[in-house]
Symmetry: C2
Subunit: 262 residues, 2 copies
């Protein structure tokens, strides 16, 4: 692995160094005890709102996995469900493969976001989860999470709020939107989430390929190209391969408004 080009990639390198893991280590997907107390994502993640003592107890049941490299799986569709995963660094995409072999991307996950919530109600994961870049994830045994949630009202509440937020999010994507609206919605949503995590809200590095974005948004990859080009011609953004600069956030927000409904 050579120099990282992405802001996210750079951040991962910094992070992995800080926890004493070399991002370019060969096959080191070992598990080690996590430290939620020191994690900068804690306020966005499941243990959000836990007081110090509880946080210390909570992190005992969290294992840090990684570094995963681009293309490594966190879990696969059909695997037995027994843990939620939180992204600690990097980016993970989830997707299913239907009977006809067609891929359907269900989400892109940033640090602090939980993966596997949709598997709680059955015993198996319902999609593949794949690292898009060098990533670290935290495994949280769900049975133990549930035990703690019985003892700590704030944890129970956080879990339910996270699930509820997920429902509200996906509700937004109903309805028919133009390619422009979808694309703007995607960019603005990503920018906001990155901003929450302390990254630049103006400069996005898309770790996924156009085909993935297209699939996620329900359009053809050629349309992604065309829309990005038009956005660029209109001065909304500047595109250089996978790097996107948001130049006119106001108009983008406006376009995205229909989709994101805020």
């Amino acid at each position: 692995m050579t120099e990282q080009q992405s802001t996210i990639g750079e951040a991962i390198d910094a992070l992995t160094r800080s926890v004493g893991i070399r991002a370019d280590a060969q096959i080191s997907q070992g598990a080690s005890a996590a430290s939620c107390s020191n994690c900068s994502n804690a306020r966005l993640c499941l243990p959000h709102g836990l007081e110090r003592a509880k946080l210390n107890e909570f992190e005992c049941m969290v294992d840090e996995l990684g570094p995963l490299h681009a293309g490594n799986f966190v879990f696969r569709d059909g695997d037995e469900f027994n843990a939620l995963y939180a992204v600690r660094a990097g980016m993970v995409k989830t997707y299913t493969i239907d009977r006809e072999g067609r891929e359907q991307i269900t989400g892109f996950y940033l640090p602090g976001e939980l993966i596997g919530l949709d598997a709680i109600h059955c015993e198996r994961y319902r999609n593949h989860a794949l690292a898009l870049d060098t990533s670290i994830v935290c495994r949280m045994n769900f049975a133990r999470v549930q035990e703690l949630a019985l003892r700590w009202p704030e944890l129970q509440n956080e879990l339910m709020c996270t699930l509820s937020r997920g429902l509200a999010e996906t509700d937004k994507l109903r309805g028919e939107y133009s390619a422009d609206e979808r694309m703007a919605g995607f960019l603005v949503d990503l920018a906001r989430r990155l901003e929450q995590r302390g990254y630049s809200a103006k400069r996005l590095y898309l770790l996924m390929e156009r085909r993935d974005i297209a699939n996620f948004l329900g359009m053809a990859k050629e349309t992604i190209s065309r829309v990005l080009r038009r956005f660029q011609d209109e001065g909304l953004i500047a595109v250089d391969r996978r790097e996107v600069l948001l130049l006119n956030r106001e108009r983008l927000d406006n376009l995205a408004g229909a989709v994101l409904r805020d």
Copy 2:
């Protein structure tokens, strides 16, 4: 209100009679203590899995509201969130109105299904909930549900499973499907849910108008008409206004397969 024409309507009448409420009462939207122990939806609803003693305690905090008439609101977008609602009888649709005044339907709810889950993470309901037919709903104070969920692991689990199931459901609707696939998906989904509740899986009475179905599925109402007609011409269904007979379930399941992903 004259003779009910729908199977659901008839069932509601029967039900409302059985609980001593006249369905055609004028403005009787009073609340009364509910009886989950005697409710035929219990196995599909939140108290699913609770033993007798707990069920008795659970139902103490449940209020039955109704009968609501078609067009009555259960709650409105922006109302303070403090309770989940379960449909006891009838059908409820939920929808939002965006800044431009456009309606976006987010769901149709059958007996035993929970409304308001997406509001848990904020203090306010995020959409309007409106009875499509004479309906009875059960109000469950959420703070008290949470208290009970702390004491009863099976209730906590049921809540999380319900939320998780909701996430998995909405994930299915991602992706781009043809008008035919969407329509078939809608019909098959409805048939399955009615079947679970003991209604005919072959004969559907659509309580909502074409415009609502169109909106929900992200298509034009004219397209709904055209697809239904074509389905009829091809012998898949028989349509008489809002009544739909499913004649070739296998081919419908097949068409729906892409959308429902089973």
